[in-house]
Symmetry: D3
Subunit: 246 residues, 6 copies
């Protein structure tokens, strides 16, 4: 099956990450993957959610929204949407999995992921850019001496993969996503471990063998996304060495 | 690691399904898995959501809620919660994956999943009981001649599995869920295919090998859940034969 | 007028009370009166509503909700409904009338009344079961030595009564309720006093004589409900003696 | 017990009714009972609530609100309050009990009761003034020939009564209401029948004998309120005769 | 162009101010300008909004609402409306411009402006009456010795002016407002300075010359409104002298 | 008084307009004025608001929002804010003043103004960019032959001006806005007429002479903004001629 933009089934869309992106934010990044465009702003707050207070530990969370015309038909502003809740929970959970919350101290970092242009894969793009924004906040905390050790334990990136006409396809755009029988979102670390695997049969249930193929394809795609992140970060997991994400 | 109730790591909790459960509902079932207790009511409506109208096709969706004292600390009534949204989307999506919506005609079936007692695994218990309630509505439609063919294409059940101290453990209760490093929810069909795989690293990222072990354990657990469903259904996928779920 | 279930106009429906009902709640009871089925969970909280703080006195309140398919046509989840507010205010007020709030100390007890099946009389059934749940919380407080004296001053139960074709009828089911000209809800104590009398002309205004007949019938019905409560309580108003409710 | 304004226990406060009150409303009246001051506006709408449509019958309903400084401590604007719901349901129900909804035709009349000054008895004052506003709308409908027969079947008024130190007291102001052991709200017709009886034990449960005394006192008070209404209405139940309310 | 009530283009409608108006409020006034009727209640609170706390300074704010039948077609109760927000922000801002918030100390004054009857100019009538209510609260604070100096620095009043058929017209009623090409709302002080100028082209953009004519007409109208205020205030800006507003 | 960026009091900040900006929108533009950055998306809808239907006329409206980190301290997502309402009403009103709604036919154009970076003047920047987005939608309608005549009657732009230390200053940034005694927002047409004049005394009331100076300065600034718009539009008010905005 030829893809609309001529990519091979195993190729990513063109990826670019701009950081910093928002002047006022403590950390920020905007990512473009093909026509998908998401901006993430990290806010450092000294107020924890009330159920976290007094535990000498920090918190990382995320919010996700769509600009009204990020989509073909105008989306109502401020709609309470189950899909948004699901995505922001995924982003927050993924970031916490690679963060040492104790090292953060009693601080909260909120990552706002706002979609400027949606063309498939906004949730995985959000995870990838949110990591860059989080990295920037944590660097500043370290540089200012507010924390003594870098709290990010591993690099983090995400990609989508699907099954179209029985074939695994990487990094689906919106049209491909609508045509796919199965839709997987995979979040992995720089050291090659899984943080989230979410695979949904949209059109038909899938076999164990198909699942395996999709995970392998996702893993190869995530390695490329990790490299794209590495290009915009001064260092990955330790300020002494400019280390890569693999 | 011994489990609190003495089960082996590969054993389900005691499972029982009561159907019908609600007198007024067109379909209903209540499930108990250990101390987890969820009741599902299926409502047959002739009104489709507005974006589905005029397509000669039906819709299946779900809502999920907690009674205030289904949990150790009273939960505020009617709270808008991202977790609830996430679960009801999972249940609805899973049911649609095994339903032929065209055969349903312009009808909507809403499955309300209400948790009476929460002790881990309420989302997978909801999927399992919702299938039984959906089955009942569809049987009635068929018996009354309102549809000509049974619209359910495959049996459906779900289970959770986790990684505790590096070992895969089946059907986690709340205490185990809190202690687990990884939390998987798996939804599968009677024919052994996957409908949903959701694996989250709560404590630490997991390897591909660990993922494989957890999926195998989940599949074996789901076979037992399918049998428990089969015991309360007059037939599974065709009224002529009392077929099993395997 | 013969009643649908063959009862005499002065007979209660079959009544049964199950207590405790919810594992996590500090007190709980479920009541069935015919097909009406309501579960009450009592939550003990150390946080008072802000306007009660610092007064060395406690508070008892109630919330009331319908499961979506407790009724023939699915009720939207979480709807703000004047009827619900009215009922939960009635339940809370009635419980406070027989509770010594000073003896409770700075504690709040919230009784959640959730209707599983509605067939008339859910508000009076809620009062009756809520009393049993409240009794259980207070017993625990006494047994654990957290309060020095039992704060419940009198037993409490409720019943509905109506006027159908000019005749007083006890404990109306939903069909009778819809046919009644007048609808009375009466809450009384074990010692035979009134706590709430609410009589509404649905079909036609009623005379003083009719009011008197209805109150007498309600009083006789409540005596039977008090006995049903007494059967599931270890003692009514004092731990030394297993006293009755009359 | 002497009353703060020197009234006898069986006396009403000074009552005055001004009608019409709102220029834009199809019917309106403002009532003062002592310092309690409530304005009612009746709106005639050709749109019925959706569940009433196509039944060739009408609907009467009410809404109730407090101006922020109708009370000693500023009340938040637009607060969703169980008390408000309870009161507006009482007013609507009472008006419907004396209205022939079929004669109204497919019309809705909404009575907005807004409290300018609260000093006890706002709900009974609302019923009394709402009746006057409803009467005005119905007169206009009759005069314009839109309905062929006056749809109001009986006059309607309301009063509160309470038990203070064991003695029945009529028409309680706010201070008396707070001191009362029992609080009764009674709605009656011009022909002396009951429409609503609501008696609540605030301080202690009450006996049947006390209930009887309170109802008698309420009935005598309502006769005076009916007269006050009659003074501002051109006729009560038939345009030919200027009949009284007794 | 003759006006519906025969006024000249430069004449105000009949204006009357009643103060105090609400018994419970710390300050209050009701204003009638023709058929427009607005009541303002000033509430003195010791709680500041959280972002003002600890600054040894006070705050003045306003809220604005319409009674459901202040308008020809019933307005839904409690509707969130951009117009209401806009008006209450204008009223609050205008009052703060002539108040020395430091002299107020850590107090908040909330002015509730409720429209009983709307016939054009409710926002300017609200400013004018709100000033009178604010004046009353501040007088009481001064008389009780709670503040040492009168915190109101200048008198404040407002008027609307418009352009109808190219001619400036003062104090528009609702029909004129709908017909006007341009709608100006002007708030000025007793010493003749501007606090707010808001001019909107409803029908066609306007020239600088037209703007100048409208401002001159507004200034002459405001002088008359200031006099009407002065008649109901014991003194304007200093208790020693009964000074005027010009 | 020297300005933070060295501008003269009569100079604009650096202005740039990018159009189109959103791929999915029927019209769009993003504007930067110094560090203020606002993106506008115009949506063409065939559904009118219900109160406009059947009038053979169109509607233009606007919505305004802040991204959470467009501001120094994170703003809660989806907050209902009076300021937002005020701004979106201003933008919508201004656009309607230069649009022939009858020529639009039964269509609605919604302009979403989203602030990416706020540094003063976001409301005037919104008006300026919204005009460009509206222009683009209307061009497309004309080019596709859906309307027969260009419905925009005049060019439209806006600027802020203020009084700092008694001196008029053009195009205030956030720091200047906070320091200003008076804040004016002015919207004007290409032909030099006023559409909106809003002048607020933040620090002290202002004289007529000061008002005049500020309006003159605003008019000179708007001429420059109109030129910046003209540079990105293929033609201003007629497709035949590439006309300017003056």
């Amino acid at each position: 099956m030829p893809r609309s933009d001529g990519r091979s089934p195993h190729a990513l869309r063109k990826i670019s990450i701009e950081t910093p992106f928002f002047r006022h934010a403590e950390g920020s990044a905007a990512i473009r993957m093909g026509n998908t465009w998401v901006a993430c702003a990290a806010s450092l707050e000294t107020r924890l959610p009330f159920w976290m207070r007094g535990q000498r530990s920090g918190w990382v969370t995320a919010e996700y929204g769509l600009l009204p015309r990020s989509v073909p038909e105008r989306a109502a502003r401020n709609r309470v949407s189950g899909r948004n809740f699901e995505i922001q929970r995924l982003v927050g959970r993924s970031l916490r999995a690679i963060t040492d919350l104790d090292l953060l101290g009693e601080r909260q970092i909120i990552i706002d992921c706002d979609v400027f242009e949606a063309d498939g894969g906004t949730r995985t793009a959000s995870v990838t850019a949110a990591y860059v924004a989080l990295h920037q906040v944590c660097r500043h905390l370290l540089e200012k001496g507010e924390i003594r050790k870098f709290p990010i334990k591993d690099q983090l990136a995400a990609i989508s993969v699907g099954l179209i006409n029985g074939e695994p396809v990487l990094d689906l755009d919106h049209a491909e996503d609508s045509a796919a029988d199965v839709d997987f979102n995979v979040v992995m670390t720089g050291s090659g471990h899984f943080v989230e695997v979410q695979g949904t049969a949209e059109g038909r249930p899938y076999t164990r063998q198909e699942l395996n193929k999709m995970l392998s394809l996702a893993a190869s795609g995530i390695r490329k996304v990790l490299k794209a992140q590495a290009r915009v970060l001064p260092w990955i997991l330790s300020p002494e060495v400019k280390d890569g994400g693999e």
